[in-house]
């Protein structure tokens, strides 16, 4: 019968030599390799204490953005929701009333905005669809939880901290993200 591949290797059935029967040289050889790793650089880190930096293109937890004055960028145009392949995003829009100009950038805003993190696949299409630079995927991941209901993220969970009231948390949440140009 012809071999199907040319990778067939004949098994060596010669009796062991004296050195091989001694067994110890092979043990020492293996131990040398094992112990040499003690002096090499460790590829792992002690996770909760040490953390690796995320790549700038990492697609993590969504953040709803504000402008420099702290007004919400989102106008509830629904493009993120229609672009979302997992249908994770839902929203309800409302009209800005006189006196709310410091809260919302445009005359329409998202009164309710929710992302179902159980459905989200972190593809980043919402960020790409957004015409107002209102949503982006940050360099953190969604924390684990014990209950399903904790994964329905509302506007409170998603909004970036206020840039003037809480500038430290704002710049931390903003990360190293380059500013995107909006079409206007």
């Amino acid at each position: 019968m012809n071999a199907l591949t040319n990778k067939v290797k004949q098994v060596n059935r010669k009796p062991l030599t004296f050195m091989e029967r001694l067994y110890l040289p092979a043990i020492f050889k293996g131990m040398m390799i094992t112990f040499s790793h003690i002096f090499k650089k460790k590829p792992t880190i002690n996770y909760p204490e040490k953390q690796r930096p995320f790549s700038p293109v990492f697609r993590g937890l969504q953040i709803l953005n504000r402008d420099e004055e702290g007004r919400e960028n989102c106008t509830a145009c629904g493009l993120c929701a229609v672009a979302c392949p997992a249908e994770a995003i839902t929203m309800e829009a409302a009209e800005r009333m006189p006196g709310e100009e410091h809260l919302y950038k445009e005359e329409k805003y998202a009164a309710k905005y929710e992302i179902n993190m159980l459905r989200c696949i972190f593809c980043g299409l919402c960020e790409e669809a957004c015409p107002k630079d209102a949503i982006y995927l940050s360099e953190t991941f969604t924390p684990a939880d014990y209950q399903r209901k904790q994964f329905i993220y509302s506007k409170n969970d998603l909004l970036i901290p206020h840039p003037t009231e809480n500038p430290e948390a704002y710049s931390k949440a903003l990360g190293n993200r380059p500013k995107r140009e909006t079409i206007n």
Binding site: E92, A94, E106, K108, A111, Y113
Partner: protein, 368 residues
Amino acid sequence: MSEEIKTIKITIDNITIDVEPGTTILHAARRIGGDVTPPAMCYYSKLEGSGGKCRTCLVEVAAGSTADPRPMPKLVASCRTNVMDGMVVKNITSEKVTDARNGVVEFLLLNHPLDCPVCDQAGECHLQDLGYEHGKASTRYQFARRTFKREDIGPYIQLHMTRCILCYRCTYVADQITDKRVHGIIDRGDHAAISTYISKAIDNDFSGNMIDVCPVGALTDKTFRFKNRVWFTKPVDAHRNCTTPGCCGKATLWLRGDEVFRVTARKDEWGEVKSFDGKTGWICNTCRFETKKTESWTIEGLSNISRHSVIGTNKYKTLEMPKETIKEVMHGVEPKLLMDIHSVSEVNNPTVHLSDLNRSAHSSDFKK
């Protein structure tokens, strides 16, 4: 003798069709359909005298007629040019036409605010479609766009003059469908604006139809204002026995769940109000703005939405709900629900009825 010459031949983009004398090039092209049809922003076949203003329907006439086969020296507006026997028209096959149309779109967008994320017309806006096909990504215009304050035309209609492209369709509606015209164009040139005289409210029974004829988001429904995006609502054809004389009672309901968010007249494939038995299917304001209960309507079925439209995305093909099979397979055991989304989510709350509001939702509506 006259009966012998019943139809005349016209060739549009190498497709020949027989039409009656007196037909415009645009209508002949619509008879062929598809990509051959020039877009029209101001022309509306149901409104007498409309057309000739926006110049988006420009076509090249390569041969005037069999008798005089010289080409026309300039591009002509197809909505206002009648066909001649043996006429050869080039629309998408002509580079000159595409170039001119790109220029027209650039002009139309000069003063347009491009606030599509806020605008309620987005998704069914003709200017959006036109800009998508012919527009450039940027503008060469370096001056400030003209701005207007938004205006309430009567209790139901919102006018955003900044979005207006001055197609005059709404004034034709006021002239021809309502009995008394109380709004029109004031000022000239760059200052021209749609307005009512001294902000006179329009309380005519058919004034709502100017929302349907508006090709952009200049005239929008205040009862639907910011309620939802068009593509998240489900259009169904429905009718009711309307007692208003002149109202056809046949409409399209835009549903969210079982709630009627918006009522419009039925549109044909050209975005114009459909005709029924030779009569244009205008609907009255009672149907449009005040009948927002599903019980008041007899639903006929899903509206036919173009495959390429964003409105058709993520919709079931029929009105019937898909059958629940788990209970059947599990010998009558209901599936165990791990989480009721309404117990956690605040969006689409079944106890909050946005359709009951005859204005846009405010922050106070969501607090309760």
